[in-house]
């Protein structure tokens, strides 16, 4: 705190001309960002008010695309599907991750040492380093209806096989299950790191009071690593809203749109149906949702920290 004040005084004491030269260091990025992010962003928002097939001139149609979106069942379904995938990529991994991280921390590292704890963490984290496209290829093959490993395994225990990704009623949940597998390592690693900050005296006091593991978990562990829980929930929710690779590789949004998500839906409009204006409108709505979610999270976090 004290050093912060000191540094601010010194910045203020610096002559104004010297201040300007630091801004020069931002120039390369300013140019790059203007071309790669700023301009495309504005173009895309602009295109969402037009009808354009990618060639010729875009035709301005005002809010027509957005009006159409509101009536488009496929659009609403893609967001509904996305909610399921947020549960699979953010909520479930956070809940399981909390229990796993606390169990590894409390039982394994304290009584069996750091090596088995690190090995467990590595095993849970491994799917995280896979490119999602590769993970998708792995699972398409494992879930394959005729020669896949899962149906073979079910056959061994006398259960009937199933076309997991090809059946409308199970496709979305199969994708969700794969995403849980893919995502779980991230919260485990973050929470295990967070637990190292927790003062052991808190646990000892609770133990003396006769609190069992579950009560210590709920009343000490979870509240103490709340900042980490927020970060994980926010980053995973945003990642879930952007999910594209697994959908493309596993199901291409099918069967019958049952696993379609906004990002894939916009991709279809851009590159398969050549409805660039409509695709831009979907992307713009997706951006708004992501920005809104981010703000909501940051506000909740801010309130949580203050109380």
């Amino acid at each position: 705190m004290a050093s912060d004040v000191k540094s601010r005084e010194r910045t203020a004491a610096r002559p104004p001309s010297a201040r300007g030269s630091y801004a020069l260091y931002l120039v390369p990025s300013a140019v790059l960002f203007a071309c790669v992010i700023g301009l495309p962003f504005l173009m895309s928002v602009g295109l969402s008010f037009t009808r354009w097939r990618g060639v010729g001139d875009p035709e301005f149609i005002g809010l027509e695309n957005y009006r159409k979106l509101l009536e488009d069942d496929r659009f609403w379904q893609s967001f509904q599907n996305n909610v399921v995938l947020i549960i699979a990529m953010a909520v479930i991994p956070t809940l399981i991750g909390l229990v796993l991280a606390a169990a590894i921390f409390d039982f394994v590292s304290k009584h069996y040492g750091q090596r088995p704890a690190s090995a467990l963490r590595a095993a849970f984290y491994l799917p995280q380093v896979l490119p999602v496209a590769v993970a998708g290829v792995v699972w398409t093959w494992i879930l394959h209806p005729t020669y896949g490993a899962l149906n073979e395994l079910l056959g061994l225990v006398g259960l009937e096989g199933h076309d997991w990704l090809g059946d409308e009623s199970t496709a979305l949940f199969s994708v969700g299950g794969i995403l849980v597998w893919l995502q779980i390592g991230y919260p485990v690693v973050i929470f295990m790191a967070g637990l190292q900050r927790v003062d052991p005296a808190l646990y000892e006091a609770a133990q003396l009071d006769g609190a069992g593991w579950w009560r210590r978990f709920r009343h000490i562990t979870v509240p103490q690593i709340r900042p980490e829980v927020f970060v994980v929930l926010l980053t995973c929710t945003i990642a879930a809203l952007k999910v594209f690779g697994p959908i493309y590789v596993l199901t291409r949004g099918g069967p019958g749109g049952s696993t379609n998500v906004p990002s894939y839906f916009s991709y279809q409009n851009f590159f398969q149906k050549a409805q660039v204006g409509y695709g831009s409108a979907i992307a713009t709505v997706l951006t708004l949702v992501i920005v809104a979610v981010t703000f909501a999270f940051l506000r909740a976090q801010d309130r949580g920290e203050r109380s």
Binding site: F41, P127, P131, I184
Partner: protein, 273 residues
């Protein structure tokens, strides 16, 4: 009593960890089978003998060496350039404390959260106009911008706590800002910069959406794109599919083993910010 409980928790965790790893094991097991071995024993039987035919067949079919080179070239270039840009930005924002830095930070943060779907079509159009479409250079340029948005955000707060005494000492020694950056700030921040570079490399390696759209010709494709587009290929049999999966997994596991320490340290750095 508690020893038994501890033991059973450990056992349960170990079982779960094994379940997490089963898909990897199944892939590795079937990638080294012959098609005949696969059809007689099924996917769960151990291979009768080890064959690299399927691996070799898939390697040749997609020219996998070329894909590895493309991925490595793009990811390494992005990792380097994005770290350099992040350092320059963070120097101005975190140490220089330029005017309006809060808003500049917000811009970088927004750039980082934007879905790529919002940018893809204009980028595709602009790349075609400038002749950059279907080049590895286009990916290097775009991902340098995207990754450095995050890098700037992270590094600015790291540089914000950089000891002022060191900067002033450098100034007293007559070092200008440019020299101070490269002789004092960068060497002192090397651990963080390494972590960032590793992250940028792996993140770029794993990217799928933009490379899928931009790299359409075979000689420019990256590993994830090559795998992603062959996933639904009806002409690939089961052993070839698992061989493809294994070839996609192996580089990731190699990075994981090399960078495991850096990674865990880095994730922690990112989380607390």
């Amino acid at each position: 009593m508690t020893a038994i409980r501890r033991g059973s928790v450990l056992a349960a965790l170990a079982v779960l960890a094994v379940v997490m790893l089963v898909p990897f094991a199944i892939v590795a097991m079937n990638a080294v089978k012959t098609p005949a071995d696969y059809s007689s024993g099924g996917p769960l039987a151990l291979p009768e003998s080890i064959h690299f035919d399927a691996l070799r067949a898939f390697w040749d079919r997609v020219d996998f060496g070329q894909k590895l080179w493309n991925s490595a070239l793009i990811s390494a270039s992005v990792a380097f350039f994005a770290v350099v840009l992040s350092v320059l930005n963070a120097y101005a924002l975190g140490i220089g404390r330029v005017k309006g830095r809060l808003w500049i930070m917000v811009l970088f943060l927004v750039a980082n959260t934007l879905p790529q779907e919002q940018l893809v079509y204009p980028l595709y159009y602009l790349a075609k106009e400038t002749g950059l479409y279907d080049t590895r250079l286009s990916m290097i340029i775009i991902f340098t911008a995207i990754q450095s948005a995050f890098g700037t955000y992270l590094l600015s707060s790291v540089f914000g706590t950089f000891p002022r005494e060191l900067l002033e000492a450098a100034q007293l020694d007559g070092a200008g800002r440019w020299r101070t950056l490269w002789r004092v700030v960068v060497p002192m921040s090397m651990p963080t910069l390494t972590v960032l570079m590793v992250f940028f490399f792996i993140w770029t390696w794993n990217e799928f959406f933009l490379p899928l759209i931009f790299l359409i010709s075979n000689e420019n494709q990256t590993v994830p794109v090559a795998l992603g587009v062959t996933a639904g290929d009806k002409y690939m049999d089961a052993t070839m599919q698992s061989a493809a999966s294994l070839l996609g997994i192996l580089p990731a596991i190699v990075f994981f083993l090399i960078f495991q320490r850096t990674l865990t340290r880095g994730i922690t750095v990112g989380a607390i910010k």
